[in-house]
């Protein structure tokens, strides 16, 4: 984190992009808090879960299972399955977290789809580090504050589908991965497309979280210039 403070130039467009994703996440956080409490869970459940689990899709699924009466074991298992991908993400951004014990322990908690996408979209290590920490800390604060507000406001928040927010998150990922896909080697493009096709093909038949893991099979497509 010290190196972030020393970073002389944080591009303003990065701050603007992060702010927009924070805004969208904030609205989703409001709806998460509201849905959990409206469904009958006490206020502390969504609030504590957001602080210590901090993974949007897993939180929605876990609360969904709890509200449907699926029981705590199934609820935790569903969330864990969705979060297995954070292990792969943490490997991909490990060098961004810095060397200190504290920054690695804190930085690990901030591994999400969005922070990893922001970091990987940057051209050099310095910018990757800045993007990771700015988006990580910004999203963590906004997400948790908004979940708390949503939980207290209860069902006053409408359906976020009305605002098209469910389309905003895939679009965020499109915007962040497209440059890397366009400029990267064709092997990566092929792996990504194959992986997406695999994920979509199996999605109707397997539990949530599994399709994305099976997408890693896309990496088995031969990479040009490599022995495989």
């Amino acid at each position: 984190m010290r190196s972030l403070l020393r970073t002389p130039t944080v591009p303003p467009e990065l701050l603007r992009d992060v702010a927009l994703v924070c805004l969208a996440s904030g609205v989703v956080g409001l709806s998460f808090g509201a849905i959990a409490v409206a469904g009958g869970l006490p206020v502390w459940v969504p609030v504590v879960m957001s602080l210590v689990v901090y993974a949007g899709s897993a939180q929605f699924s876990t609360v969904g299972v709890l509200l449907a009466g699926g029981g705590p074991v199934a609820a935790a298992a569903t969330g864990l399955l969705l979060n297995t991908r954070t292990a792969a993400f943490s490997l991909a951004v490990a060098d961004v977290l810095g060397r200190g014990r504290f920054s690695r322990l804190v930085g690990a908690h901030l591994v999400t789809d969005e922070t990893v996408a922001f970091a990987l979209a940057q051209p050099d290590p310095e910018r990757r580090r800045a993007a990771y920490w700015i988006s990580g800390l910004g999203l963590y604060v906004v997400w948790n504050v908004c979940v708390l507000v949503g939980a207290l406001a209860g069902s006053a928040i409408g359906d976020t589908g009305t605002y098209g927010l469910d389309a905003a998150f895939p679009a965020v990922l499109v915007a962040l991965v497209l440059p890397a896909l366009r400029e990267g080697p064709s092997g990566v493009r092929r792996a990504a497309v194959t992986g997406a096709v695999v994920a979509l093909a199996v999605a109707p038949f397997v539990p949530a979280g599994v399709p994305v893991l099976l997408a890693l099979a896309g990496l088995l497509t031969p990479m040009p210039g490599r022995t495989s």
Binding site: M49, L80, F89, S90, A171, V174, V198
Partner: protein, 104 residues
């Protein structure tokens, strides 16, 4: 501990353990260049699979037309190198307008 609290603790501990895999291995295990490359490709593959399933699927079924249409508009704008803010807002606005017009 009440069962809901136990579920939250288990989920939080497991998730944090997943997130520690990278930082714990980093600097301790010397990863060959080939593996490093595979890791960043792997992250990209995961993100693309997430956006594809996120755009098209809701739980285990089709998400309806409004959402993928919005993501497609965002994708075309991103392809034409539109600014990030425009891409995201156009995607959300397209989906919201389609829903307002009665398209699921």
């Amino acid at each position: 501990m009440n069962p809901t609290a136990a579920a939250i603790v288990a989920l939080a501990a497991g998730t944090y353990a997943f997130r520690l895999v990278g930082p714990v291995l980093h600097g301790r295990v010397e990863l060959p260049g080939r593996v490093q490359e595979l890791l960043s490709s792997g992250a990209l593959v995961l993100l693309v699979a997430l956006l594809a399933t996120g755009a098209l699927m809701e739980a285990q079924g089709f998400a309806g037309w409004a959402r993928p249409a919005g993501v497609l508009v965002g994708g075309v704008l991103a392809w034409r190198r539109a600014p990030f803010v425009i891409v995201v807002l156009a995607a959300a606005a397209t989906t919201a307008s389609l829903r307002a017009a009665g398209v699921a």
